[in-house]
Every structure is written in C-alpha cells, then in structure tokens.
Symmetry: C2
Subunit: 554 residues, 2 copies
C-alpha cells in the first residue's frame, strides 16, 4: 500500500475543495453594553475561507522564522480565527499549543516557558496579561492579536496585518504522521501541569473514529457547536471531525451562557453540540425556563449532545430526553486520550429510552476502535471485569499519550506484559461486556472503614432528585471511620430537607454510602476545565461538624 | 502518542468482548432438490463465536507450520467460515488470499503458484478442481474443506476436524501495521492477473472510514448483507466494518438470485447491503415482480444499498427510490483501492431525491478521507478539474496499492511531483467541487473522428428508458470515423424500436454520440466480478454491418 501519511493537511484540502461553502459562524465581541458586559456580533465565514486563511497564516509564520516542530501558542476562545490556527499551524509542520484561558497568569507563564512557545496568537481580551508574558516568557518572539478591527498595542501585531499579502496556497510540506501537531497541558490539580503532544496520526485517527455514529456522528450534513473550548483537549476532536467531513461550525466565543447557547442552537440549526456537565446543566435550566414560559426553543435539528469531562448524571440525560426530546451521549476520556476513549450508547436490543437504557447511558460506555481498557489494584494485580469490583482504570490506544512532553514516561504509566498503559487516576468497574463505569477519581474516593465509597455514584443518585440542581460529595475526616461522605447540594427550586435526600438515596446506593450530612449551598467552585473543584471543596469542609446523630453506618 | 498498531487483532477483541451476541447468519447448501439445484439451509452463529473459532483456526494453522507472512488461500463463497478465516488468518500474522471462485481452473492454478499459497481452505463445491490443484500447485501443503458435515475426500482435511481441540484463546502476536494481511488478484482482462497485498493498516483505516455515514454507514445497530463476494476486494470492506463496529452479518452463499436476496433482506431485517450493478438489477426485477403481484417485500429496515463495480445507472437509483423507497449509494473504487475511493452523495443543500440530486448521485462522487484523485492526459500533462475535460483518472491514498505483489511498480503507476499515483485505467472528469465522473474504462472509450465518446454515459442514458433493462455500448470499427458506438440492449417488457431509442437519447447525450445502431439481445456475457464483459462483446460485434442510413454524425 502507498505510504500516505495521516496529516492535518488533508483537512486543508477537503475544506478548500470538497466543502468550501460550509458555514463557520462565530460570535465575536462587538462592543460592551451599559453594564460593561460584552455584546455579541455574528461573524460569518466558511470552511473554504478558513482553509485559505490558514494558508496565509502558515506563510506569515514561515516568514517569521517558525520552523517544523516549533510551538505556536494560542490564548483564545472558540472562533474562526482559532480554527485557522488549528488548520494552518499543524499543517505547516509546527505545533499549535492551546493555552487554557482560565488558568492564572503565573501558571500560563510556567506552561509557556515549559513548552518554549515562539509565537503567541491571542484574543484582545487577554492583552492585560501581555506585560507578564513579556517580562517572564523570553521564548516568545512575537505576539499576534486576533480581531477584525486591526488593533494591536505596542509590542504586538494585528492578526489581519500579519497574514495580509500572503497567498492562500501555502506550499505545505510532507510530514511524518508521527510528528507533533498539537500540544495541550493538563490542568494539573496536583503538581505542575503536564503537556500532551498530539501527533498528526493520533489527531487524524481520532477524527476518523470520532465522526462515526457510535461517537460524535459528524458528517457533511451536520452543523457542530463545540461549547467545549478549543483549548481543552482539541475541543474533543469535534473541530477536526467537522473539517474532515465538511460539517458546518458554530463558535460562541465568550458567550457560553445557557440563553446564548440555546439561541445559537436554534438559530443556526445546529445538529450536534458538545460540552461539559456544568455547561449542559445551564443549558437545561434555560430550556426548562423557556418551556415553562411557554416559549420553548425549536431544537428539532439537534440530533446529539455530547457530554463528558466528569460523570454525566443520569438525571440530566433523562431530563433532556423527557422534557426536551434531546439525545445526550456521554463520552469518557481525558486530555491524555485525545480525548475520546469510550462512548456510551445503549447496547443494541436495549431501548435507549428505557430504564435499562438510561442505566447503560449513565455509565461511561465502551471503548473506541483500537482503544483498550483494563483494571488493576493498588499492587498492580489484575482486577476482574465483573461489573462489580473496583480497580484503577488503565487505558492504551493509538491516540493515548505514552509519555508527557519533555518529561517522558512518568509514574502515570505502568507496563504490563510488555505493553505500556496510562493509569488514568480513575477508579472504575468494567463489565464482562466491556462497559466502563467510572466510580471516582482515585483521589476523590471516600475511604470509610477500610472500604471505598464512590462519590460520583452518590452524586448521580442525588441529582435524580427533583429539587437538586447539582450535588458534590466529598470525603471529610471522621474519627471512627477514617472518612465519611458529605454532600453539598445546589437546590433546584425549593431546598430539599436532609431527611428527604436520605430517604431518596435509600435503595439507590448502599446504605452505608449515604452521606452523614447534606449542606445546601448557592454555588460551588468550578475549575479551569468546567469541573467542580473537589479539592477546594474538600479543603473548605474538612472541619465540618457532623450532626449529633452519629455517623453513617447505622 | 503510544505506538499502538492498527491491526485486525482489534476485530477479534471487539467481536469477543463488545459484540459477542451479534448474529451471523449464513445460507449453506443443505442438499439438492429434484432438479439437482442446491437448496439453502440457514446456519446461525455470532460474532463472538466467529472470533473464538478464528482463534481455533489460528492455532490449527500454527500447528500446521504456517508462519507470519505465509499465504493461506480461500476458495469460498460468503459464509461464517469465510469470516473466521478473515479474522483468524490475518490476525495470526499470515496473509489470507481470497481466490475468485468464478475464474477458470487454469487461471486459479496460475494465481496460486504466483502467490505460493501454503494452505487452501475451500468450500466442498469446489472439490472437483482438487485434482488440478494437486497436480499443478506444489506450494499447497494442505487442503482444508469447509462444511459442518465433516466430509473430506482423500488428500484433504475437514475444517471442523482441523480446528477441533484448539483453544479459542490464541496467543495473537504483535504485528507491524504495514505487514501484509490480505491478498487479492485483479481479474485481469488483459495479461496475467496482478496481486494486491492489503496491509493491516490499509484494511483498518479503510474500515474506520468505511463505517462513516458518508460511506457504508455501519454501526452496532446494523445488519449487513454483503452480496458482493468476500473474494472480491474484501467484500468492499463491509465485513471488516461489521466486525469493527459490531454489526450483524448475513451471508447468502451461493444463493444470490434476486428472490433469495430479497427474502433474506426482509427476513433478517437487513439495514445495509452491497453489490454490483448486475446483482442489483436482478434484485430490482424481483422487487418489481413482487410489488406487481401485490406481495411486496417489507424492506423498511433497509437504510442503504451500496452499489459499484461499474457506473451505476441513474435509472436504477431512481427506480429503487421511487418504486421501493430505497436509498442506493454509488461508490467507486477497484481492487487496488481496497476498494472505497469515492462515495456519491448529493452535496448538502441538494435534495437527494430531486433531479439535481439524482444527477449528482449518478456520478462517482467525492473522495474518501486521505484519498486524492487527479487527471492527466495521454502525455501526462495536467487536465483541468472543470467537470468537462476528460482525462486519465489517477488516485492515491493510504489504502491504495503502490505496487503489485511480487511485480513491484509496474507501468500502472505514474510519478508526478515526487509522488506515486495509480493510473486507474478510467477516463473521467473532475468537477471543481471534487466530484469524479467516470466516463469509461480507457479501453472502452469509443474514438470517433479523433474525439472521445463515453460508452458509460450513453449506457446510463439508455437505461433511463422504460423499456431498457440493461444496455452496453461498444466501439465498432468504422471506415470513415475510425470507430462508432453500437448499443446492445436487453429489453424490459416490449422491445423498444431503434428510432425510439435514438429519439430518447436526443438531448441526453451529444448528438454525434448517438449510437449508429441498436441491437436487441436476450442476455449479455458477465465476467468473474459481475461486470459485463465488454471485450468479449466488442469482439463478437466487430464485423457488425452498419445500417445503410450511414453513420452517426449526421
């Protein structure tokens, strides 16, 4: 067979020649309202224009001395400009390094210095961080500011001026499919962030598999709205899938609130969107509100909502199905897995809208092609795939990283029977039919009386209560049992009483798993990737005074 | 990223663990009726059983001395046994060589000797050829006869006895994804047949891409009936797709007549089937017959009919749509391209059931991911992609062969700008939007007065006539114009008159393309891969007496 490498160059060709007219719609910041809040303006482009401008960007970067393997960083929300960087930087042989805009500037500085980025493409809203970068990031030779208005402060260049005059037809080089194409750092709740270098091969295999109907089901007839940020694990591959198969794209930029997302889903006839649980809870709240107000959104085009990042509550999947006729599919993965490792569909023969179907769909699902999972205990011994026994979840596959950037093979990897696996840090069960059920992050498990309690499973059960909008369960030190679970609950409507929640959990989780206390809160801290910050919550409640009634196991 | 190779081993794992219960239904020969015709019997198995028995087969082959890279040939129709060979032979590192059962025994002997096959797995019906193989094919050390009854003549072994006692859990080796996995010889209308060696990488990339909804749209919820033989370009990849994604499979064995296929489509609730034009014309005739008899088949589960091998008549696509509510998608490719190179879907925004939609769908469509096409003239110069100018169609991609087995880089390949392309032997146009329109095989073009006439386009137009069941147009020598087109027509119902057909073609093809004569025939010869044998027809009519009225260009 011909030795044709799998590279992102194919995206350029397909966008330019097969799907040039497919729309790319971006919400940009058009100005500010009286309250000083950004006001959206719609920018319309196409896949063909994005690919042509990607060629211009590649020409400008080459003229600026960017060579194969060099890192070009982005600090940007989702937009057509970010898409141009996705297509152009990797296809010219450089590495696009997507910085997480939600990180504090000190961490960004650390990451930029670790990655030795040579160019930074950034949205204007992040210009306040410029002095910190200029003072602390000597590797960056050039700052290029996205934005159609051409503004660029001292020491920076406007993106439009940077690419102006370059031909759209860049002389794309032949690349090794195993060379680096993208770089993303994990948010690193412990220790310093770690970089994951995606190769052309891994990205393109992920896109091939991700477009299948068992995964994100993306084709030319689709319009995709990745609410998940393009700086977060490649927007879960949705952008590459869209460019490969010719789907339209909708980018909401900074406007990711429930009402704006709902409006764009309706207005742009979006067929597929993807985002983390917290974003989808906000979307559900807006759909509920509109429905109750007698002005429901028309989302009849929306075939699939991809959701992940943390375990997806069954109640959320059910609510979207029964209240709004929408299909949510859970996917599991991590920055290290590109990220799609499993997708969760009811097995054939099981009605997806039956109780059994929802039970399946609330688990993390079955592996993608060429991906394998396994379980070990803390001593590295095999754990049975019986759907019952918890173990540390291992994963391997052609789009799973085998090392960290510049750090090599760290303690996050284990070698078993001659093969390297990534230890995900998740605790899971694995059914004989290959269904992964993540019980918890290893560090979030509650260790009570020598046994493990899955905080995720309790949270899932709590969120099935009609008056629970969100719930987080954390371990709190306990004199007798070492740790016991504490539930923090954001109420939906009238606040539920602890005894109601206790009764609700009876039969849904093991009796001794029922939290010893339930605290109503107005909000909970959310981290840089949209997940609840369990470590912070645990720290905040570590001296929680247990109710007098005595702990849990009764 | 981890260096995880793409090998067929993944099919074994997924069939065993993720999709073990998915059904595999085979029509076997249960006996003969009074007329001596074979009578079908239904054999039911599963993907899990097939994968387990593939492990047994691998064990038996290993014990028989088959090593990595050795060729294990099959001479068999579609069945669960053939599936076991697909899964087991390649995953153990050997090469499964699928012999075309329709070839004369002399050609099979030549091919076996060229491939140096060590084992031959064959259906009992081909035992009459055994003496010829035994006398002329010294490389074959072992003949293994498929069949549940355990019969095996002198010098052969029964398949069931061969694999009996072997464990289902073969110790599958780690393989290089670029090593050979399957071998298929082209039918070779000129010269000796040429072998195409598929690698694990090419087969698995083809399966990943082939399952997408822009191609064969195969997932766990599907049941696939490959009417296309498993010896013909890997059954177009449908079998690998099904094993990868967990679709059920239906094999009709020798029973590929319209009524049996239609009955199995209905009975097994098939969602996707695939076959060549001649087979689909027979299926259409049966659906028409049943409908007219007031006993239509219930094919409400059938979402997609894949068709290819030769240009698909627009009239066939329309008839299936309008008369039976069925969607036919044309795909183009060859043995050398695994075979999917293009798939033909109406571009987004065009109603597939509109005149414009059918026009698009009657062309060969747009390239699969990572596949490229181009056009050159006879001197190797660029031909514009204007949708008008004909040129020789070139193709390249990761599942396009770059050489022939044991023959290397023959004259079928051209190097342009440092890259190797396969010259397909097809004459085509290429639209600016990337749509391939095959006009003819280069050798089937009619050269009239220094210009090219596309026989395929005339055939397509003829078959839109209500009283034409099939049409073949060939070049016949002509004193003045060098060659002129002659049409051979199989009538549907009342035979049309030449002047009716001439009138019908007015406006549908260029005036000077209209054949100079129309001959009604009862049948036309069909070759080993189900295509009309144009060379034979041309030879038969090369002395055709033109009607007195004088030739064509008037």
């Amino acid at each position: 067979m011909m030795d044709v490498p799998l590279t992102t160059r194919t995206l350029i060709d397909r966008c330019l020649h097969l799907h040039p007219e497919r729309p790319v719609t971006s919400l940009l910041i058009a100005g500010k309202n009286e309250a000083g809040q950004p006001v959206p303006g719609t920018h319309r482009s196409t896949l063909g224009e994005a690919a042509a401008r990607a060629g211009q960007l590649a020409g400008a970067l080459k003229d600026a001395g960017v060579a194969q393997g060099d890192r070009v960083a982005t600090l940007a929300v989702n937009s057509s400009s970010h898409l141009e960087a996705y297509l152009g930087v990797s296809s010219m042989g450089a590495v696009i390094h997507t910085l997480n805009i939600r990180l504090p500037v000190e961490q960004l500085v650390w990451i930029i210095n670790d990655a030795q980025d040579r160019v930074l493409l950034l949205d204007p809203m992040f210009l306040p961080m410029l002095p910190a970068f200029q003072a602390n990031c000597p590797s960056i030779e050039r700052y290029v500011v996205f934005g159609r208005d051409g503004a660029a402060p001292e020491g920076t260049q406007a993106y439009e001026a940077f690419i102006a005059g370059q031909p759209a037809t860049f002389d794309w080089p032949d690349l090794d499919e195993r060379s680096g194409a993208m770089l993303c750092y994990t948010s690193g709740t412990t220790g310093n962030p770690k970089g994951v270098l995606y190769t052309h091969r891994s990205l393109m295999l992920h896109a091939l598999a991700g477009g299948h109907k068992s995964a994100f089901d993306i084709g030319e007839e689709d319009t995709v709205l990745p609410i998940v940020p393009m700086f977060h694990a490649n927007a879960w591959g949705t952008v590459h899938c869209a460019a490969l198969y010719g789907a339209g794209l909708v980018f909401t930029g900074v406007f990711n609130d429930g009402p704006t997302v709902a409006r764009m889903l309706e207005q742009e006839k979006v067929t597929m969107c993807a985002g983390v649980v917290t974003v989808m809870l906000a979307l559900l709240a807006e759909l509920d509100r509109a429905g109750e107000a007698g002005q429901p959104y028309d989302l009849s085009h929306l075939n699939l909502i991809g959701c992940g990042g943390t375990a997806v509550p069954e109640a959320l999947i059910r609510a979207l199905h029964f209240r709004h006729g929408l299909r949510m599919m859970q996917a599991w993965g991590m920055t290290e897995t590109s990220p799609l490792a499993t997708t969760s569909n009811a097995p054939v023969g099981v009605d997806p809208a039956s109780d059994e179907g929802f039970t399946h769909r609330s688990k993390q699902g079955r592996v993608m092609p060429f991906t394998e999972v396994d379980l070990i205990d803390d001593e590295g011994a095999d754990v049975p795939h019986d759907g019952q026994t918890m173990g540390r979840l291992l994963v391997r596959g052609p789009w799973v990283t085998g090392e960290y950037y510049r750090r090599g093979v760290t303690g996050d990897f284990v070698t078993r029977r001659g093969k390297r696996w990534l230890d995900t840090g998740d605790i899971a069960t694995l059914s004989p039919g290959g269904e992964v059920w993540v019980q918890d992050r290893a560090k979030d498990l509650v260790k009570s009386g020598g046994e493990w309690i899955s905080s995720a499973e309790i949270e899932n059960a709590l969120m099935a209560h009609p008056h629970v909008a969100a719930a987080v369960v954390v371990a709190v030190p306990h004199e007798k049992w070492t740790e016991r679970p504490l539930a923090l609950v954001i109420p939906r409507g009238e606040a539920p009483k602890p005894e109601d929640l206790r009764a609700h959990l009876q039969g849904r989780v093991a009796k001794w798993w029922i939290p010893d206390d339930f605290v109503m809160v107005e909000s909970l801290p959310i981290g840089a990737t949209g997940k609840f910050l369990k470590r912070e919550i645990r720290d905040q409640y570590r001296n929680h005074a247990w109710p007098a009634a005595g702990a849990g196991t009764g």
